[in-house]
């Protein structure tokens, strides 16, 4: 089993998919030189410039053209460079891609992967740091996933490329170099969370890089004698309600943590679902961690003011457990 970085795991997924299926192609700015994060490196050499296609700085056209190409028999992988720039193609994604199949009465499909690197990346400031996954989870027609490990960035990207629905694929740009074992034979099933650590006292639900921080929190909590169960949701739509409800039924305590703004964040959806379906099983108050509703700064100390840390998760877990007794 190879050890790969999060970046190279995605590269392998594209390479394996493109070798298998000649209708898969990639399009975006600067892909020919390997993509801005090196996540397409070497692909031009193997697959040529038609299938690893550069694009003008025209986000609306990249998204719209890929959609047109998807409707007539190809499977484009769309690179948006930074999730922030994808906002220039919002009409194409939300009004066109997400709706076409339904509006046209099932005549069309848009099998496409829309890669949008998101998240904090040291001193990238307000227009290069956003995590907007909850926006996309709100749009019927889209599948929304947030891989947090090299294994998932392989298995989930393979699944996304093979999927006939449009998949908003949100990689975290803070972890391109994160390394881990990658089993190429491991298949990802959409909507299945991963229990990254089993525990019995408190459930911590998270995704993307925040799930990695939750693993650190679990380690710290275990040193204090608290057993935390870490659920990496991986996919926000669909999301694994069963896994969360089952875990909460066991622990009776819930912390939800994400890097994006807490207000209107997907954490609220999770907490609301638990309240509706399993409120009676809760033994302590729910804690929801997300960024304050402010903007990401350039200065590192200011940027850190918006960060959800593993320490905060430890404190939140302690609080929900303490208030219970």
């Amino acid at each position: 089993m190879p050890t790969l970085s999060y970046r190279d795991a995605s590269l392998a997924a594209i390479q394996h998919s493109m070798r298998e299926d000649s209708t898969v192609w990639c399009v975006g700015e600067d892909l020919g030189r390997g993509g801005v994060f090196g996540q397409y490196k070497g692909l031009r050499e193997e697959f040529g410039e038609a299938r690893i296609s550069d694009a003008p700085i025209s986000e609306a056209a990249i998204m719209g053209a890929a959609f047109g190409a998807a409707m007539i028999g190809t499977r484009p992988i769309v690179e948006m460079r930074f999730s922030d720039f994808a906002l220039c193609a919002t009409d194409e994604l939300v009004n066109q891609i997400a709706k076409a199949r339904f509006m046209f009465g099932g005549q069309s499909r848009a099998p496409m992967v829309i890669r949008k690197p998101m998240g904090l990346w040291r001193s990238s400031a307000a227009q290069h740091s956003q995590s907007l996954e909850s926006w996309y989870a709100h749009i019927p027609g889209l599948v929304v996933v947030c891989p947090g490990t090299p294994q998932d960035n392989y298995s989930m990207l393979m699944a996304a490329i093979a999927c006939d629905d449009p998949v908003v694929y949100l990689e975290h740009k803070g972890i391109w170099d994160l390394e881990g074992d990658v089993d190429f034979s491991k298949k990802y099933e959409f909507g299945k969370a991963e229990i990254r650590r089993e525990g019995s006292d408190v459930t911590i639900v998270s995704w993307s890089n925040t799930a990695n921080l939750a693993m650190e929190a679990a380690e710290a909590l275990s040193n204090q004698g608290v057993s935390a169960e870490i659920i990496d949701l991986r996919s926000l739509w669909p999301w694994d309600k069963e896994a969360v409800l089952k875990s909460v039924a066991k622990t009776g305590h819930l912390v939800v943590a994400h890097e994006s703004v807490a207000v209107g964040g997907f954490g609220a959806e999770i907490v609301a679902t638990v309240a509706e379906k399993a409120g009676h099983t809760l033994k302590g108050p729910v804690r929801r961690l997300g960024a304050p509703r402010s903007l990401v700064s350039y200065a590192p100390n200011l940027e850190d003011m918006l960060r959800v840390t593993s320490e905060m998760m430890v404190t939140a877990a302690q609080e929900t457990l303490k208030k219970a007794s």
């Binding site: 028999g73 199949r101 046209f104 009465g105 069309s108 909507g191």
Partner: protein
Amino acid sequence: MTSAGHNFERGRSLLEMMERIRAFEEQACLAAERDQLVLGAIHPSIGQEAVAAGIMHNLKKEDILLSTHRGHGHTLAKGASSLAMMRELLGREGGCCGGKGGSMHIADFDVGMLGANGVVGANITIAAGAAHAIKLLGDNRIVVDIFGDGAINRGPFLEGMNWAVVFKLPILFVCEDNQYSATTRTASMTAGDGAATRAVSLGMRSTTVDGNDVEAIADTAADIAARLRAGGPPEFLHAKTYRRTGHTSFDPATYRPANEATEEEKRSDPIKRQRAILQTAGMSEADTQSLHQSAQKEMIDILKEAANTPFPADATAFNDVQDIGSPAVEAY
């Protein structure tokens, strides 16, 4: 005399298509106003039929078309069923889109019609992408993308056309210039010389044609289609016509001089012009009338049939959203 004398059959079939489009939209307007059966907005192309008929005459079934909110004519001329279209306008079962799209989202993938669009200008990048895929797949189809004069002031106009030129795609962009953007004269909100000049500035070959002369449009489109099929670069066609109705069927268009539309009809109604050309070339009055009558009859009949078709089953509100995380499964 135009080429009608030389190619009488083509001229007759162009007239026939224009008659069908006109009759379809007249019935659609009646269905909206008289019968109150069309619940959403419809945007008639009455007076603009020559563009649809002239261009589509040169497309094959497998060629690709993308259209706009004012797209009934394009869709019908591309080969869609008038009954399925009328059912769609009425939101009924068996409509082109199962009643889920309505007039503004009509599509018929079986005849290469990849959709009207409710967002002005949005079809331009999508059409470029369809042409991009055709090139990637290495097949021989061509794409026609039609948009209005108002759409040239949206960003996707630049992005989509630049894209098509850069990637040398087999696509014809058509600006169907009816001189109005909703209730505004487009010229009053457009800098420079407008559509064709902008296309030329991107290095595109651009042709301007009288948008009410169906023979001229068909000739021009035939030439362009031949060049595209031979591997030529994308082209632009600016067809100047006139929007005879209001923006929607309910818009009385009081913002323009009262006689403007009637003057325009007298001067250059494309159907009257084509009838005159064909009659000069020997078409009998009886034949002219029979084309008109049979188009009328077709559309009266399909409206009746559409009105007698049930609405779609309630459960289809949850179909065809997505396979993964489908609301049919996930609904709370």
